[in-house]
Amino acid sequence: MIERPHHVPERLGLLSGAAADPFLTEDLLRGVQGHGGVDLAKVVEPLPEDDARWAVEPLRDLVDDAMFQFKENRTDADGWLAPRLHATLRLTRREAADKRIWNHIALAVAPDYVAWRHLPTASEGKVPRINPVRFMGAPDRQCFSRLWWAAEMFRNGADYTPVVRACSNQDLIHNSLRVSLVDHRPTAQALVRILERGTATTGREINGLITAINTAGATVIYDAFAEDEPRDPWALRQWITDAESAPPVPRHVLPTGPDEEPVREDSVAKLTEYFADLFETAPVRGRTP
């Protein structure tokens, strides 16, 4: 079993893929034994000292709470952790695009969480292993970056409620991030609304809908009839500055995100109807027309 590392760093740092690779051992992937953490600390590049966001403790507390609260249903931890991870780290997208910070969290800060959430699996006759992409991999697969991006793409300005809804469907967060559909904020909000209304709910239905939206999107530019507000760089910068004095994120109610303009309601409503129509005729595996 992978336990909390003996040596947990005090500050977040940057861990490059090449430097991290020797620590992605067979024992770790099989969930047998982790590393002490001391040797790993030597290959980490530090982040600036004066930034409160890089303190590890609030993050480590969060994953401990998640593991305690969701031990009966680990998948449900996603919807709880995603907004709280996002509101604790307070990253810009530029910072979040750097995989090294996610490598560091997964390998140095909370390898036990990665192993807890993504259990070793195997095809017939093979030794069960944790998929290595959960430690170091594409942003939509890595254990922590997938949660951060889900929160970033599905939040509606400062409101994380849609993130919780989106995380309740694993196919939605996985596939929509992969095809960059939700880069358009009104599309992301409309997808959540489709889920809420029960128009499409199962993984297969969501996959069918995403494929249909993507296909239609090759000839229809959704931005043209579902407009979004322009982004305001200052709201995010202020939120990041406030990290200095921010208390730990609330455990029972949702935290508050950066004070950005919410998506326009008329855009979301229009797209929701549009997607619902698309879904009527979308090919869905297992659905008889």
């Binding site: 490059s16 020797p22 880069d183 000839t219 530019i221 760089p233």
Partner: protein, 331 residues
């Protein structure tokens, strides 16, 4: 060729960058001169040495629609032109509407805002003409055929593959992961946002040779070594790009959006000649994941790498210099 179930224009939009202005933290603006963007490279470089902390950049755009877009009897209505900035690294999408310069004009112009916090490297800029066709809103009736690149880091508007090159003494480097590689002159790390070449300064005289501008045979050896390194880099980046592909539910691979995508588009025509790049990627992916054919492909991958690294020229130049030296010795 794609088939569209509605009437479209068959020629693309011509999109040009007309200006670029940085907004600085103190609220002032710094207009960049024209060397910050290149029309042939379709690239805007927003990295300026003095202003690493800029907040946002305003890029002035001009788009020319092909003939027929604004005809009175065109089969569409409500024509608009949108400029769309996308960034695969940060999942960002920004859209602005361009304004028609005059009624019935083919020229449209406007500005798009690029926020520094929203990008790590390169973003793509495209333009779409959208209209209502046969009652369907938002149809794209034509678009740009090649995107512009907005590079928030580079100081020069250059297209193509970008590398990070760093020097360090491997045996004593603070980057401890380099220590096991202390006996080689260089290593390549393709796991980051940009491919990185680490040069080992422990090899005596190596960094002088690489950095030097000496004449004669040294120059030629320098060139030869660079092409050798470049061959290694191209081979490594190709393998890392095909080794890390996302796959659609139907099993077909997806083109990566970062440098891996650029590498594949650049090299695939040499690796799988005669095929469209999408088909070439499917073939290469099949070869790698199926039981057969991957080994046979290595020669072609190496060929594609050697061509890009300029090895033929470097070898020929070195040989000529050697011949010349021998001749001078024997005279």
């Amino acid at each position: 060729m794609k088939f569209y179930p509605y009437k479209r224009l068959n020629r693309p939009i011509a999109l040009r960058v007309m200006s670029a202005t940085l907004k600085l933290p103190d609220g002032t603006f710094d207009p960049l001169d024209t060397s910050a963007y290149s029309v042939p490279q379709r690239t805007v470089a927003l990295g300026v040495a003095q202003h690493e902390d800029w907040i946002s950049a305003r890029i002035g755009l001009s788009a020319t629609l092909p003939p027929g877009a604004t005809d009175a009897d065109a089969p569409w209505s409500g024509l608009r032109v949108l400029a769309v900035l996308t960034d695969g690294d940060t999942n960002l999408r920004t859209t602005v509407e361009l304004r028609q310069d005059a009624p019935d004009s083919k020229e449209w112009s406007g500005q798009i805002e690029v926020l520094r916090d929203d990008h790590a490297g390169r973003a793509s800029l495209a333009a779409y003409a959208v209209a209502t066709v046969d009652g369907v809103e938002g149809r794209s009736i034509t678009e740009t055929d090649a995107d512009w690149t907005v590079d928030v880091v580079s100081e020069e508007p250059l297209g193509g593959l970008r590398l990070d090159v760093k020097q360090a003494g491997f045996s004593k480097s603070a980057r401890e992961w380099l220590r096991p590689y202390a006996d080689v002159p260089w290593v390549i790390d393709t796991s980051g946002r940009l491919p990185l070449v680490m040069i080992n300064t422990d090899v005596e005289g190596f960094s002088d040779l690489l950095g030097g501008n000496g004449g004669g045979i040294e120059n030629k050896i320098h060139e030869l070594l660079l092409s050798q390194m470049a061959t290694d880099v191209w081979t490594a980046v190709f393998h890392s790009a095909v080794g890390d592909l996302e796959v659609e539910p139907d099993g077909s691979p997806v083109f990566p959006t970062d440098w891996r995508g650029e590498v594949l588009r650049e090299m695939l025509p040499d690796v799988a000649p005669g095929l469209h790049v999408e088909e070439a990627l499917r073939r290469v992916h099949r070869r790698r994941t199926d039981d057969t054919g991957w080994v046979e492909l290595q020669t072609r991958i190496h060929y594609a790498a050697v061509r890009r690294a300029g090895a033929s020229k470097a070898v020929a130049n070195a040989l000529r210099a050697l011949q010349q030296m021998n001749r001078e010795d024997s005279e």
